[in-house]
Symmetry: C2
Subunit: 247 residues, 2 copies
């Protein structure tokens, strides 16, 4: 049975998609069978692999009782795609029976085929993020060490506790992952401050540095580990995969 992980933070632009793709790829390279679930109507995870207008997408499978669409993107590496159409069906999901458990029930159908399932979440505390957290064994919180990203974390942890209390008592925070870290005093201070404020939440030892090579890989529509395997951030994502499996 697969371990299901949500990459979650309602603050926008903190590296959720980038981390879902590259942690996923790092796990696939290490020999695990990995499914990426794009659960954001922006569809950035799908676009990274050239999928813009999928015939079937995740929202159709969970609302119309169809099979989850699964596309092979590389060896040991699979994608269940989404695009903007998902945003148009948000109200259908909100009003559906068992609305919070729809994704969980759908992933249960295919969970024995994978070792890890990573869910890329949208920048919102809405029905989609709730579905992802209800479906997950654990979550990773990508966090830019900046003021605005810090303010929202309290609300995010409150939401996670609520879900654990009422719907999914196995859900835990696997760790905070600092992303886009540059060598500035502001970033150092924020990292120390977060570690101080949230002593009870694990923080991954490895952080991902800010690096232009990541943006170049996205323009080239490749994951970073394929585009520049020896680059510092690629090695950091490999490091993250090792740390993730062992802790």
């Amino acid at each position: 049975k697969a371990k299901i992980i949500s990459m979650v933070n309602h603050k926008g632009g903190v590296g959720k998609t980038t981390s879902t793709i590259n942690l996923g790829k790092a796990l696939a390279i290490s020999g695990f069978k990995v499914l990426l679930v794009d659960f954001d109507s922006q569809g950035n995870t799908s676009q990274c692999f050239g999928v813009y207008t999928p015939d079937e997408q995740v929202i159709d499978a969970i609302l119309d009782n169809k099979e989850l669409p699964i596309i092979e993107i590389a060896e040991n590496f699979y994608l269940s795609p989404s695009n903007i159409k998902m945003a148009y069906r948000e109200t259908d999901l909100v009003n559906s029976i068992g609305n919070e458990k729809r994704l969980r029930n759908k992933l249960n159908e295919i969970s024995d085929k994978f070792d890890f399932i990573l869910i890329d979440c949208p920048p919102a505390l809405n029905i989609f993020t709730t579905n992802a957290l209800v479906a997950s064994d654990m979550c990773i919180v990508p966090l830019q060490p900046e003021a605005y990203a810090f303010y929202g974390v309290e609300n995010l942890f409150n939401r996670i506790y609520e879900i654990r209390q009422h719907v999914n008592n196995t859900l835990n925070v696997k760790g905070i992952l600092f992303t886009m870290v540059s060598n500035t005093l502001v970033h150092k201070q924020m990292i120390d401050f977060v570690k101080e404020q949230y002593k009870h939440i694990p923080v991954f030892n490895v952080s991902i540095e800010r690096a232009t090579i990541i943006q170049q890989s996205q323009v080239a529509q490749k994951d970073l580990l394929t585009y520049a395997p020896k680059s510092a951030p690629a090695m950091q994502y490999m490091e993250l995969a090792k740390e993730f499996i062992t802790i």
Copy 2:
């Protein structure tokens, strides 16, 4: 009667909040009376001015028929705050009568008191962003010159055309504002690519460069023009205000 402007892009982390605050401040310094409407449940605009748990907030005013809460934050500069509570009332708004026009009707009540009203939108194409666009005379699209930010722009413009066609025929795109621009080839290429792809959409001459001073100002809970008025990005926001008024 105030000119109402939405700062909109459902891609997360592209500088919507930073631009709302600093363009707003630049207009206030130029002598205009400016209201910032924080219409994002993350409440980052409110937090920048030290407002975390407002007694009354925008969502209460539009759902419970109360007066819009308005706090003076500096000379000529006012804020209508929000926080996470707004996310809990999203479904109420979706199911309310006249759900798309609620913010527009509320802003009409106080529009004669201001020259400009700037609305900070959440990173989503949801009922909140629709409310903001229905209420607006124009919108500004902050855009990071990166692949993921570019993919979503097409969907955003489609949504704007839909709103213009069915609900608010005066809404126009005032311009694309490039934010967090660094001096890399990727950024130059993306900027040229966007200008080429969207010839019919105006692009502001000024871009906002990536600068650590912005993050420092946010940790210090000050807008940039107060924190570092002579810094390059502060001058760029002043430049933006000039360009915004004249075009």
